[in-house]
């Protein structure tokens, strides 16, 4: 079984900007794959390389074993849900959804049937006659999803599709997308800058920074065992400890990460620290400690006693919680 998408040393340069720089990537068929990174990290360019809107400056791309270079977007069995949805304003919802079928030359009856089925799948049955302008943001998002899925693509690309939705709707859509992906078995490639979204939805995540992939792995791996300082910091705001501090705390002179929720306060055998600030987050309280000049965040579950600013405390952690990342990370 070939990979759904594979990149071999793929670069895309815009003038002197290396938007994507020598990326190797393998996405398994049927996988829910997230590309996570800050804006300008190259994740969207990677998506556009798969869609065919960009051509690589160098390197090789395969989609289900077939060479993708030079193949225009309209000859790829790949569909995209755009960030701004890009619904056609002059067509009603049904014609929007059936656009791909119409281009393929499908008859009117088939188009109507398939469009209605796709709309039902995204829980918008009977919305076919409306114009995109009459829909809410969440509904437009579903129409965009139906318009892509109706073509039964081998790979569905989603470019920050939930970015414009409010929190509650976003959580609901995350759940629905996951269910839909499992039911259809289509490979989903999902671009996001929201680490929570990536962790909760994806089977595997690639973390991008400055045009390169920093780490690829399951959400659990990325979260528990970040390979670089960037990943540790970007995914779940882990504490990154310098080699000096790590040596003092664990006896090894390497960069390390320590998750804020893995730290306990008040253990008499623990290390000394000074509280420099606290902030209430709702489900937890974040306490900022100063440990010999370095800042360490601690997440206390709600209900735990919160120390006050300037107080001296002792802190400790599970032996496995401190994750070493190597000297050069």
């Amino acid at each position: 079984m070939p990979y759904a998408v594979s990149f071999q040393q793929v670069s895309r340069h815009f003038g002197t900007v290396r938007a994507v720089d020598a990326v190797d990537l393998e996405i398994e068929a049927g996988e829910f794959f997230a590309m996570l990174g800050p804006s300008g990290s190259g994740k969207t360019t990677c998506l556009r390389l798969i869609a065919g809107f960009e051509q690589p400056t160098s390197g090789h791309i395969e989609i289900f074993g077939e060479t993708a270079e030079g193949v225009p977007p309209y000859r790829r069995n790949v569909n995209t849900v755009f960030q701004d949805y890009a619904l056609f304003p002059h067509l009603n919802v049904a014609d929007n959804v059936a656009y791909g079928l119409m281009i393929r030359g499908a008859g009117k009856a088939e188009r109507t049937r398939e469009a209605e089925a796709a709309l039902e799948m995204v829980k918008l049955p009977g919305y076919g006659a409306r114009k995109p302008g009459q829909l809410s943001g969440g509904q437009r998002q579903r129409v965009a999803l139906a318009r892509a899925l109706v073509n039964k693509p081998k790979v569905l690309l989603l470019d920050e599709p939930l970015g414009a939705l409010d929190l509650k709707l976003r959580e609901q859509m995350q759940e629905e997308l996951k269910v839909l992906q499992k039911a259809l078995g289509i490979t989903f490639v999902f671009v996001t800058h929201d680490q929570g979204e990536a962790l909760s939805m994806a089977d595997r995540i690639a973390v991008f920074n400055e045009g390169r992939i920093m780490q690829t792995g399951t959400p659990e791996e990325i979260y528990r065992r970040p390979r670089t300082r960037f990943v540790a910091d970007f995914v779940g705001s882990s504490n990154v400890l310098s080699p000096q501090l790590t040596e003092r705390l664990a006896g090894v002179a390497e960069w390390s990460s320590l998750r804020p929720e893995d730290i306990r306060l008040g253990d008499e055998s623990g290390q000394d620290a000074t509280v420099t600030g606290t902030s209430f987050l709702g489900s937890a309280t974040r306490v900022t400690l100063d440990v010999s000049g370095e800042k360490i965040n601690v997440l206390l579950p709600s209900g735990a006693p919160v120390p006050s600013q300037g107080e001296s405390v002792r802190f400790s952690w599970d032996k496995n919680a401190l994750h070493l990342m190597g000297a050069g990370a």
Partner: protein
């Protein structure tokens, strides 16, 4: 109650508006009136009598038909040329980024800002230098210079609202360049093109200045009218023709106005 009074237009303003409108439109009404006069040598007021015979006379004058047909052909072909070039130009300016883009967009608009006489003289000397004989096509070329601008201006405003991702979405859904143009771009800019085309047609139809410099022996309708006014013979024929010109140019402009207004609502719905 007080706001009602404030909203009422003062009598003075109403009279001023009336005078303004009369100043603008009475001369046109006079032209219509003289199309029916029985006096054919001088425009005396009031006309000594009214008659419909000038319509028949005009109908039977071959020179009127020649001029009218030339004007319609020139305006049609100029409009077609302008539609093609103006749309292409608008697409290039609004959909892509390239060196000198702003300069080109200014250069495209320039012909309509230049006095017609400058355009006319420069075209005439250019045709002379290139040893192109004056013909039907030199008139078309002269008219196309300002017709392109009208189409371009209409198209470019609409193109800006057809976001790049719509075109990408269409390609993503399997449509090649031609299908994308046919199914996405054209429906979104269609009314703007129609409006631009109608304005271009109307502009070309009554153009005098550029035409005098670029025409050879042919007389378009406005030129024919100018020549006709000098000769004191069957003068009301000119007035009859003027009525036709007003109708031919006014209707497209009115239609263009309604089309673009409607189009704004349609394309505004997407955002």
């Amino acid at each position: 109650m007080r706001s009602d009074k404030q909203n009422r237009t003062p009598m003075g303003l109403k009279i001023a508006a009336g005078i303004g409108l009369a100043f603008l439109h009475l001369p046109i009404l006079l032209i219509f009136l003289y199309a029916f006069t029985t006096e054919d040598k001088s425009y005396q007021f009031p006309p000594p009598g009214l008659t419909l015979k000038w319509f028949a006379v005009t109908w039977n004058r071959p020179d009127v038909w020649e001029a009218l047909s030339l004007s319609v052909r020139v305006a049609s072909i100029s409009t077609v040329v302008a539609l093609v070039l103006g749309t292409l130009c608008a697409a290039a300016i609004s959909q892509t980024k390239f060196f000198g883009r702003e300069a080109i967009s200014l250069l495209v608009i320039l012909p309509i800002a230049l006095p017609g006489i400058i355009t006319g003289i420069s075209l005439r000397s250019a045709f002379n230098l290139a040893e192109i004989p004056f013909s039907f096509w030199t008139i078309v070329l002269g008219h196309a210079t300002f017709c392109v601008v009208v189409v371009y201006n209409n198209a470019v405003a609409r193109f800006r609202r057809v976001s790049g991702s719509l075109i990408e979405a269409s390609m993503d859904l399997g449509a090649d360049g031609f299908q994308t143009f046919r199914h996405v771009i054209l429906p979104n800019i269609g009314t703007a093109l129609l409006a631009g085309g109608m304005l271009a047609f109307a502009l070309s139809f009554d153009e005098v200045i550029v035409t005098t410099f670029t025409a050879g022996q042919q007389a378009t309708l406005p030129i024919w009218m100018l020549e006709e006014l000098v000769r004191p013979r069957q003068r009301p024929v000119t007035n009859v023709v003027a009525m036709v010109v007003v109708l031919v140019t006014f209707l497209p402009i009115l239609a263009a106005y309604y089309l673009t207004r409607d189009g704004d609502q349609i394309s505004g719905q997407g955002k």
